[in-house]
Subunit: 252 residues, 2 copies
Amino acid sequence: MEDREAASVSTQKLHSMDSLKAACANCNLRELCVPGGIPIEELVKLDAIVAMRRRVKRGESLFNVGEKFRSLYAVRTGFFKTRITSNDGRDQITGFQVPGELLGFDGVATEHHGVDAIALEDSEVCILPYNELERIARDFQPLQHQLHRVMSREIVREQNVMLLLGTMKAEERVAAFLLNLSERYRHLGYAANEYVLRMTRQEIGSYLGLKLETVSRSFSKFQEQGIIEARGKNIKLLKMEALRKLISATKS
Amino acid sequence: MEDREAASVSTQKLHSMDSLKAACANCNLRELCVPGGIPIEELVKLDAIVAMRRRVKRGESLFNVGEKFRSLYAVRTGFFKTRITSNDGRDQITGFQVPGELLGFDGVATEHHGVDAIALEDSEVCILPYNELERIARDFQPLQHQLHRVMSREIVREQNVMLLLGTMKAEERVAAFLLNLSERYRHLGYAANEYVLRMTRQEIGSYLGLKLETVSRSFSKFQEQGIIEARGKNIKLLKMEALRKLISATKS
DNA sequence: TCGCGGTTTTGATTTTCATCAACAAGTCAT
DNA sequence: ATGACTTGTTGATGAAAATCAAAACCGCGA
């Protein structure tokens, strides 16, 4: 449990195309995982420490609660969920991560991961060893600043989830969820109004603080209203404006 | 709105004992706002940039949504709440801050504050100009690392609030809230089983995703059960173990 | 292709909490 | 100290979502 990183890198390398050399300078996700104007020569330095990639199969975890924190991860391809678990066995999905997004910031505080990160489809991540990241960030302020920005962005994101969980009704939450996914796919260059869900209704419910039946009913209702088309995991947003209106409902 | 900092520092100085020179090296909260082993000579550098303190009266805000982000703030004395507001006027309290805690990380991402920070009693904060903080953190890794740890801690805290909001029933939330405050007061050296609430039932409710009546009813019920004594804002925790048990209820 | 396990939908019922309302208790300013 | 206003308590009722249950659907491996 304490040393999954080293173990998986060495063992998996033998089996699959695991642990490829990364190359930030060429990565087409660069603007997402390391946005801002970082010049090419500094990206080369980043390459030097972003030593490895790692593949994670669907259903497997990238890291688990309690594991020693060593690295951040940038999702290259695939889809992840992060899940927090309490002493007494409650759990809650705290986020879904798409390509270009960073994982693992929860581990910095305690040096141990506070959530599980689980692949919802076969995925690949870049491994960013944290000590080295801090070291080169020290010599190069823009990277340091960027690191802070990304952490801050995560704080802001979570605050917005708190707002959702604390103040929104079931259908509003579901609408917000669909629009949020849409926005993120759009940002990745995919269609904003049509996508395939990678997670189950149960997982959506866990993220939104709802039961799976409630999520399903919301989908059905939106469908009846002609706002979306939902056949299983295939989602089409037919009236995005209607979805937006649902969120900003008559709520003082 | 854009330049509250400069304005308040210069104007308030004339009136009150505002804007005192800070002194991290002597501050008895040092272990809280800058824990870890930062040697005294580096604290002097920190002093050099932690130029000012600022007083905020009860009900006034330290900063507001949309204001330009310039500084982090360390609570020296008093009590704050942070509040996020959505487009359509929903709002939610995202946290309460006691002495030794840092405020303002939400502003790093966008360079503008994403929440309001409002004093719930007359308070005093140290102003930590962010640019300078980044600059000296660069020359001194332990400080940089500490900064990361504090941000990460905030991420973890918010994840736990998400868990609370997503999975707990009303009384469980209230119990968790009381215990959390207790723990934080204890950490400050105050009694863990007896304290005065600084916020209203409405504000507690907002934080917990509940209505004020529900909070009030939970208090009353705990009181009937002899678990707490609540007379207005004065709280005594009579059976902490019972409170803990309430949280880890029979929930698969 | 068939059948199986997991997922999703839909319905009926129950639980929880919000809402509405009235009053009590505190707090503040004068 | 007094009155006005805010905050808190408690009760009655209603709305929203959870729970329980059954059936339909889907994807996958034998």
